[in-house]
C-alpha cells in the first residue's frame, strides 16, 4: 500500500500463513516466510512478474528474511540444525552461512542500511528476548537492551538508531504494555515513542528516517499505524480485518 494507507494490494494467495514481508532495496521483490510443504520456508515474490519465484528450501523453520542494503544478501533465521540461528545467504539463494551459535531462539535480523556491515537481531540466549548487534560475519556481538522483553528491531537508514518493541517493565505475572522505543546504537540511550496503549510491534523506518510505521492493537485489533520518529503524530492507516508486520520500502 502507499504510505497513506491507500492502494492496498494482496500479493500472496497461498491458503496458508505468510508472514514477515520485506521489500528488496530496488523494490522488485518481496521476501517473506510462509508454510510450504509443511515447513516454514523463505519465499520470494517478484513485484515485476507478479508471482512467486523460486528460492532454495531448507529443513527446519526458516523465518524473518532481511535484505542487506545493497540487495545482494538476505539474513534470516533457520533452525536447520535444530535450533534457530541467524544465517546469511546470497540473494540468488547460494552460499548459505551461519553467523550465530547460541542455544535458544535467534530471529528477526535487520541490517544496518548505512554501513551494510552490521546486523541487529533478537536472541533468547539468556532467557527473555533481547536486542543484539554484531558484524555481518558474526563477530563483535553486543547486547543492546538490558531488561524486559525486546523484539522486532529495525535499523534506521541513517545507521544511528534502532527502533524495536519492548516490554521494559516485564516482571512476574502478566507482562505490561509493549511499546515502540528508539535507541541510539552508540550511547544505548533510548526514547519511548508509544505509551501504554496496547501491544505495539514491528516498527519499520521510512527511507528518510523521519517516520516509523508499526502495528498496534490499541483499537482492539492489530492495525497499521505511522508516526514521526519522535513518537508524535500517530495515525492509523488500516482499519479492516487484522493487519500486522508492516515494512517500509527502501525507496
Amino acid at each position: 500500500m502507499d504510505y497513506d494507507g491507500a492502494n492496498q494490494r494482496q500479493l500472496t494467495h497461498k491458503g496458508s500463513i505468510s508472514l514477515s514481508p520485506r521489500i528488496s532495496p530496488d523494490g522488485s521483490r518481496v521476501a517473506f516466510s510462509g508454510i510450504s510443504g509443511g515447513n516454514w520456508e523463505i519465499e520470494m515474490y517478484s513485484l515485476d512478474l507478479n508471482r512467486t519465484v523460486s528460492f532454495p528450501r531448507y529443513s527446519g523453520t526458516n523465518l524473518s528474511p532481511a535484505w542487506s542494503a545493497d540487495g545482494t544478501r538476505i539474513a534470516f533465521s533457520s533452525s536447520r540444525t535444530g535450533d534457530p540461528e541467524i544465517y546469511i545467504v546470497d540473494a540468488d539463494g547460494r552460499n548459505i552461512r551461519r553467523i550465530t551459535e547460541a542455544k535458544g531462539p535467534d530471529v528477526s535480523p535487520t541490517w544496518n542500511p548505512k554501513t551494510n556491515a552490521q546486523i541487529a537481531w533478537v536472541s533468547g540466549r539468556t532467557g527473555l528476548p533481547q536486542i543484539y548487534t554484531m558484524e555481518s560475519d558474526g563477530t563483535n556481538v553486543q547486547r543492546m537492551t538490558d531488561q524486559g522483553y525486546a523484539v522486532s528491531p529495525s535499523w534506521a537508514p541513517n545507521g544511528q538508531f534502532l527502533a524495536f518493541a519492548w516490554i521494559r517493565r516485564y516482571g512476574p505475572g502478566a507482562p505490561g504494555a509493549r511499546d515502540i522505543y528508539v535507541m541510539d546504537i552508540t550511547t544505548k540511550q533510548f526514547v519511548q515513542l508509544t505509551h501504554d496503549v496496547g501491544r505495539n510491534d514491528f516498527p519499520s523506518w521510512s527511507p528518510d528516517s523521519r517516520h516509523i510505521v508499526f502495528q498496534s492493537d490499541r483499537t482492539g485489533t492489530e492495525q497499521i499505524w505511522t508516526m514521526l520518529a519522535d513518537g508524535t503524530n500517530q495515525k492509523q492507516l488500516t482499519t479492516s480485518g487484522k493487519n500486522s508486520q508492516p515494512n517500509w520500502s527502501f525507496k
Binding site: 500463513i17 508472514l19 514477515s20 516466510s33 508454510i35 509443511g38 515447513n39 516454514w40 527446519g60 523453520t61 523465518l63 524473518s64 533465521s77 533452525s79 535444530g82 535450533d83 534457530p84 535458544g104 531462539p105 535467534d106 530471529v107 528477526s108 533478537v122 533468547g124 532467557g127 527473555l128 528476548p129 522483553y149 523484539v151 522486532s152 518493541a165 502478566a174 507482562p175 509493549r178 510491534d201 514491528f202 500486522s244 508486520q245
Partner: protein, 243 residues
C-alpha cells in the same frame, strides 16, 4: 244263582267303567317329550405367546377346548385345557384338534422362528491413529521457556514408551506459544519447543527419523481468551499423527 248274576253284572259294570274311564284318560295324555338335543359341538382355541421367537428361544402354547372328549395337539393326546412350552427350530404351525360327541374342531397357531441375529461385529480394532491420539500426551511449557519442566518428564516418558511400542507410527510435533509474545520470536520459540520435545523423545529411544517438527508460534492458538489458564493451554508441544 241270582247272586252269581249280580256278581257278573258288577264285574261288567266295573269293566265298562274302567273302559270308559280309560278312554277318557287317554284323551289328556301329554305329548311325548321332544327328542334329547344333539350333543354340543366342541370348541377349540390355540395361541402361541410370543408368536415370533428367535432360534433357540421358546414360546408357550396355550389351548382351551369345550365339549371335547378327545383333544390332541399335533397328534399327541393332551388335556382339554393346558399349556406347553415349545422351542421349534423352524417356523411351525401347531394343530389343536378337539373331538367330542358333537363333532370335531380344529385350531392352529403359527410360531415364526427368526434366525438368531448375527453375532455383534467384533469391536473395530482401534487404529494406530486412535491409539496415538489416546496415548500420546502434549507437553506444556512455562512462559517464554522451551525447557521440559520436571512435571512434564513423566509425560514424555509415557509418550516415548508408547511410541517405542508402535515403531511404525510417524508423527509431527507442533510448537505453540501464547499470544503475548511477538509473532516472529514466538515462531522461533515454538521451534525450540517442538525440538525440545523431539530431543527428549530421541533421548528416550524414539527414532528421530519418525519425527517431524513445525512451529506455529501464536498463529494457531488452542484457546483465545486472555488469561493464564488459556495461555498455558497454548504453550505446548502438540502431537499430531503422521508427518
Amino acid at each position: 244263582m241270582k247272586h252269581r248274576a249280580i256278581q257278573w253284572s258288577i264285574i261288567i259294570l266295573a269293566l265298562a267303567g274302567i273302559m270308559v274311564l280309560g278312554a277318557c284318560k287317554k284323551k289328556v295324555t301329554p305329548p311325548p317329550p321332544p327328542p334329547p338335543p344333539p350333543p354340543a359341538a366342541p370348541t377349540a382355541s390355540l395361541t402361541a405367546n410370543p408368536s415370533t421367537i428367535q432360534q433357540g428361544q421358546s414360546t408357550t402354547l396355550t389351548w382351551e377346548t369345550q365339549n371335547a372328549t378327545d383333544v390332541t395337539l399335533d397328534g399327541n393326546k393332551v388335556d382339554a385345557n393346558g399349556s406347553q412350552t415349545v422351542s421349534p427350530t423352524d417356523s411351525t404351525t401347531y394343530h389343536l384338534v378337539a373331538k367330542g360327541a358333537g363333532g370335531s374342531q380344529e385350531s392352529t397357531a403359527r410360531v415364526t422362528v427368526t434366525p438368531p441375529p448375527p453375532p455383534p461385529p467384533p469391536a473395530p480394532s482401534p487404529t494406530d491413529m486412535d491409539l496415538f491420539n489416546t496415548n500420546v500426551k502434549d507437553i506444556f511449557f512455562d512462559y517464554d521457556s522451551y525447557d521440559i519442566k520436571p512435571d512434564q518428564q513423566s509425560v514424555i516418558q509415557g509418550d516415548a514408551a508408547f511410541l517405542k511400542q508402535h515403531p511404525n507410527i510417524t508423527f509431527t510435533i507442533e510448537g505453540h506459544c501464547d499470544e503475548r509474545g511477538s509473532t516472529e520470536y514466538n515462531l522461533a520459540l515454538g521451534d525450540n519447543r517442538a525440538n525440545a520435545v523431539k530431543n527428549a523423545l530421541v533421548q528416550a529411544g524414539v527414532d528421530a527419523s519418525r519425527i517431524k517438527t513445525i512451529s506455529y508460534g501464536k498463529e494457531k492458538p488452542f484457546c483465545t481468551e486472555s488469561n493464564e489458564s488459556c495461555w498455558q493451554q497454548n504453550r505446548r508441544g502438540h502431537f499430531v499423527y503422521g508427518k
